[in-house]
């Protein structure tokens, strides 16, 4: 009922955003972006992971004009900027990784050049380690 007062002072967690859905057909890809961006305000570590059809979310060249839907590809540019800012700022303890699973990418005929943002391509085994060491996983 009443707002719960969390003690988050000094808390640093690693939140993984596991994106597995294609864009536009459903809203999942768009709304997860909003939660990724908000975690920057709390300076939390984040893994932004693209698996299965989620890899289509960051494919270059979205043009949604005919659908009258918001093209959210530019938002990934903002996420990339947040990541770069955090990487460059020595006073900021916020580690973000943008990760694509190699197997999902290759199964869909894509290469890293097809993506709007710079990504780390990890094998399934490497990604399994990333998931296993996450404090919280938000799927979509």
């Amino acid at each position: 009922m009443a707002e719960y007062d969390f003690d988050t002072e000094g808390v640093k967690k690693t939140i993984t955003f596991l994106n597995r859905k294609a864009p536009y057909g459903t809203i999942y890809a768009l709304e997860v972006l909003e939660s990724v961006l908000i975690s920057a305000a709390f300076e939390q570590h984040a893994n932004i992971v693209f698996v299965d059809d989620g890899v289509f979310q960051i494919k270059k060249g979205h043009d949604t004009a005919d659908l009258e839907m918001k093209n959210f590809l530019p938002t990934y540019g903002i996420i990339e900027m947040e990541k770069e800012d955090a990487d460059e700022d020595e006073d900021m303890d916020m580690n973000w990784r943008i990760i694509v699973e190699k197997e999902s990418m290759e199964a869909r005929g894509l290469t890293p050049d097809d993506f709007k943002v710079e990504v780390e391509v990890l094998s399934s085994a490497e990604l399994a380690d990333v998931l296993a060491t996450s404090d919280a996983v938000i799927g979509g």
Partner: protein, 119 residues
Amino acid sequence: MKFGILVNEGPFTHQASDSAYQFVKAALEKGHEVPRVFFYYDGVYNANKLSAPQADDRNVVKRWSDLAKEKDVDLVVCVAAGLRRGIVEDNLMDGFRISGLGQLTEAAMGTDRLVMFGD
């Protein structure tokens, strides 16, 4: 232990809200704390007080509301997701409140486990 819960689907179409409710009930019965349930995506429809299921069906919205009152669970509806879908103060069920997405991050930070229910 403290559990944060994320519900990403509305009532009735998907089982997510039912599963989340049963999980929360069991967790509280076992003596765990569930300080916050965050409703995101279509999950915001769980707070629609205009929902009126038939008498022989469970009332998902009321069930959450009762749980909030009895067990002091903080039910938070995402403001942006709610506005998009027309869930606002006017049709917000008792026991829920509307707030920002930062409340989800806070729940992930301030609990021992975040458990997500969706589709």
